[in-house]
Every structure is written in structure tokens, then in C-alpha cells.
Amino acid sequence: MEHKQDDELVRETLNGDHRSYDQLVRRYQERVYWTARRIVNSHDDADDVVQNVFLKMYEGLKNFRGDSNLFTWLYRITVNDSLNLLRKKRFLQYIPFTAEIEDKYNDPESAHDKIVRKEYQTLLESAIKNLPPKQRAVFTMRYYDEIPFEEMAKILKKSVGGTKANYFQAVKKITETLKREINA
């Protein structure tokens, strides 16, 4: 397949070419998925985030000015959507729902996730799960995606110093959890 630049694919998508949009999705779907997955710590939730991110991308392409990299833009949406999803879940924990709805939202893991977790969830994923949402996001962004602190600060609307401190706190908590689990 011919390798086209992002801006070319964006232009073609705006002209109604579905295949160009499909190429953009396929180009970035894995990166978006893994960023979301590490923050929300669940395959099902990451899947929801990925779909929403690409829907937003489609709707926002006409306003995309192209002065920043397309992936940078997608990355911001991904981090914010992942954090929003975690926030929504935490908020829903305090609302008395019927048993069925409560099960779905109160439990951060779906039935499918539970099966997957039993077989595949690693010690690290358990450690990350214990982090507060923003620390999870900071850890993912810095450790896995190697985003500069300045950029992270912009995405999370925090100071650079605060973001660095958050990263250290996240690493410290993960280190402690891993130590505890390994020694247990």
C-alpha cells in the first residue's frame, strides 16, 4: 500500500474518501489502544476509549489546523478520554443503582476482563491499578510513551514540577507494590 502522509490522508478523508480515514485509523489504532489500556487498565474500557477517540478524530478533522502533529492531537484526546472514563466510573460508584447497573459500573472490570485478568493480568498491571487516575496517566505517558514533562503538563493542565512529582510518586507506589507482591 502506498504510504501517504497524515495531512494527505486527512485531506482525502475530508473529501469523502473512506479508505483514507481507514488508513489513518489503522496507522494509529495500536498506539491509541495501548495508551488507553495502560491508563484505564482494562481491555473493554480501552476498546471504548479507542472507538470514541477515532469518532472524535473524524468529527474534528475539519477543524484540525495541522499546526500540530496528528498523533499529538490524538494522544491528547486519548489521555483525556481515558481519565474521563475513570472519573465517570469513580463517580458512578457513589450512585445507588439497581443491581444490574451497579455490577456493570461499580466493578471496574467486566466479566470478560475478569477472565482475561485471571489468565493474563500481570503483577505490574495490578500495581498500576492501585494508582490514582492522574498518576496512572502520568506514569503511562512518561514511562511507556516517553512524552516530555512539558507536553504532559499541557495535556493534564498541571505544572511541570507537579507532573514530575506525580511521576515519582507513581514510580514509588509501583515499586512498593511490586516489592510487597514479590516478597509475599
Binding site: D22, R26, R37, L55, T122, E146, Y167, F168, K179
Partner: protein, 202 residues
């Protein structure tokens, strides 16, 4: 820099991501600070563990299917977000209106030679015996009704009463098939019913 400042930089330092101007300062501090060195050791171990981490990964089916699902949500299905073309904007309501009109017209039964009147004409032209047979077949009366009637007669129950029940129930079935037509009811009362009675008493 104090211990807190150094500790905040340790995660990047352990992964060789510290700034060039910060790295020598961290190294110098670590040489003289056992507390921070212990912290550095823990972080290195944790990172070593993370490096070996193999999370569950979705398979290729998931990746192929993901873009299809996203496309489905954008270009088709319930969440169609495409701008609606002007001709579609008018064509769809027009097609819906035509469909509703057809449904309404077919619901109002217009009497005609092929409708209830047609059946009525045929019934009127039939001899009473044929009419009784037609009615028997039509209402599935012949087998069960006759059996019931004969059984009832043998057991000494009032024949007329049972026959009336049978005829009444089947009359309703027949009539309900062709609207509430008074004329048809009259034919059934005057011709079909006596014919059935005659057939049953044979």
C-alpha cells in the same frame, strides 16, 4: 539539590533519560546518600520487572475488526454521522409517507367482486347442500363437530343446544373472516345452518 529533588529525578535517571546537566548532580548525590541509593536500587528492580512484563495482547482479528467497527459507527448503522445529502433528506420521508398511505389503503377494505362481496355472491349461488359442505370444510366443522354432536346426542344432552353452540362458534369464525356482514349472517342463519342440521341428521 536535596534528597526530595533527587528522588523526583531518579525514575528518569534509572532509565538514562535524565537531562545532561542533571545526571552528574544525581550521580554525585547518590555517592554520598545511602537513603537515595536504596531508593535507586528499588526503582531499578521495579523497572527491571516492568521490562519483563508481558501484558495480554489482543490478536490480529481484534485490530482488523476495530477499524471496521469504527467505520461502521461513522459511515453506517445507528450512529451515522455523515452529512445527509439533500436528496436523501426528502426521499426518505417521501418513501415513508407512501408506505403509510399504502398500509392505510389496504387496511380499508373496499368491497368488490374479489372481496367479501365476491364471496357472498358465490355463497348465494351455491345449493344449500354444497353450501353446507363448503361451510363444513371452511370451518373445519365436519369431523369434530359431528363427532361431538353425535356423542352428545348419545349421552342424552339437548341436541339443539349443542348444535347451536357449534354453529354459533363456527359462524363467528366464518363471519370474522369476511367482516361483519349482515347479509352474510342472514345467509348463514337461513341457509347454512339448516343445511348443517340436515347433514348432521342424515
Amino acid at each position: 539539590m536535596n534528597c526530595e529533588d533527587i528522588k523526583a529525578l531518579l525514575p528518569d535517571y534509572c532509565r538514562l533519560r535524565a537531562d545532561d546537566d542533571e545526571a552528574p548532580m544525581i550521580l554525585l548525590h547518590l555517592k554520598g546518600c545511602p537513603g537515595c541509593r536504596a531508593e535507586e536500587g528499588d526503582i531499578r528492580k521495579a523497572f527491571g520487572r516492568i521490562e519483563r512484563d508481558e501484558p495480554w495482547k489482543p490478536d490480529s482479528y481484534y485490530w482488523n475488526n476495530l477499524s471496521l467497527r469504527i467505520n461502521e459507527r461513522i459511515y453506517g448503522g445507528k450512529e451515522d454521522r455523515r452529512p445527509v445529502a439533500p436528496y436523501i433528506r426528502f426521499t426518505m420521508p417521501f418513501a415513508a409517507a407512501v408506505t403509510i398511505l399504502i398500509l392505510v389503503l389496504t387496511a380499508i377494505k373496499v368491497p368488490g367482486p374479489d372481496g367479501a362481496d365476491g364471496v357472498l355472491t358465490s355463497l348465494k349461488s351455491m345449493p344449500a347442500a354444497d353450501l353446507a359442505e363448503y361451510y363444513s370444510v371452511q370451518s373445519e366443522l365436519s369431523g369434530m363437530a359431528q363427532y361431538e354432536y353425535e356423542g352428545a346426542a348419545q349421552s342424552g344432552e339437548a341436541e339443539d343446544e349443542i348444535l347451536n353452540e357449534i354453529v354459533a362458534s363456527d359462524k363467528n369464525d366464518l363471519v370474522s373472516s369476511y367482516l361483519d356482514d349482515d347479509e352474510l349472517l342472514a345467509i348463514i342463519d337461513k341457509e347454512i345452518e339448516p343445511a348443517i342440521v340436515a347433514a348432521l341428521h342424515k
